[in-house]
């Protein structure tokens, strides 16, 4: 597992039923591209987050395939529809097999 991986997510606490909200996510990760070389000229092996998904109450909102060209600390902003109260679940998949998860509740009312 890469060190110091910390997901940060911004979701509004409340929404009206059917409202479209903006979600911002950031996860601290070096996203080593596999293109760089160290001081001795050896290629530093690739180590990135290769997939990010967001689901709401089990239904998919967005699924992003990520390549090494995405910056360090990958940031994503997107919109989601909120039909009812529930929980957003965010998942990041690392090249090394680790999975980072976080979730945020939202209340409709």
């Amino acid at each position: 597992m890469a060190k110091g991986v910390k997901p940060r997510v911004r979701v509004p606490k409340k929404a009206a039923a059917g409202e479209i909200i903006t979600i911002k996510t950031l996860i601290s990760h070096t996203m080593e591209s596999g293109q760089r070389k160290d001081a001795d000229g050896n290629i530093i092996p690739r180590s990135i987050i290769n997939r990010f998904t967001c689901d709401f109450n089990g239904q998919n909102v967005i699924d992003v395939t990520i390549e090494p060209a995405v910056s360090t600390n990958p940031f994503f902003e997107f919109e989601a529809k909120v039909p009812e109260s529930g929980e957003f679940k965010f998942t990041w998949y690392d090249d090394d097999g680790s999975v980072y998860e976080t979730s945020k509740p939202i209340t409709v009312g």
Partner: protein, 140 residues
């Protein structure tokens, strides 16, 4: 050296190919392959997909880009001048509020950034923008 008709034609064709693509020759093939694997060689329309990039990026390590296309099922981002042209693919689920996504990407140098959207009706849309990069973002 005498300029034969054949040589003149060859030079002209080479020059046109370079000017038309605006890409370094080594990147052209892989970018085309990436597009082909996404679209399956289908024709791409223009106009429905919006790609927002800065005109000048001081730092190629983190360039904000935004894509949006009403009615898109998924949108692929390509950096045509990077060692690996694939950047990211947004696949929208049933609860996506808008067919819109934004992220930050690495660009190796001044180049054309391209977005291709697969619409829900199975057609494809493309958009591209040139970004001037002051400091490249791929190390080395």
């Amino acid at each position: 050296m005498t300029l034969t008709r054949r040589k003149v034609l060859a030079l002209g064709a080479g020059g046109l190919a370079l000017a038309g693509l605006g890409l370094p020759a080594w990147a052209a093939e892989t970018t085309e392959e990436a597009i082909a694997s996404f679209t399956g060689g289908a024709e791409m329309g223009e106009g429905l997909l919006t790609l927002t990039t800065p005109e000048i990026a001081e730092n190629g390590n983190t360039v904000p880009v935004e894509v949006s296309a009403e009615g898109a099922a998924s949108i692929m981002l390509l950096a045509t001048g990077n060692p690996l042209p694939n950047v990211a693919t947004f696949n929208f689920g049933p609860l996506a509020g808008a067919r819109h996504g934004s992220t930050r990407i690495r660009l190796a140098g001044t180049q054309e950034v391209m977005a291709i959207a697969r619409m829900e009706d199975g057609t494809f849309q493309k958009a591209s923008a040139t970004v001037k990069v002051t400091i490249g973002g791929c190390g080395g």
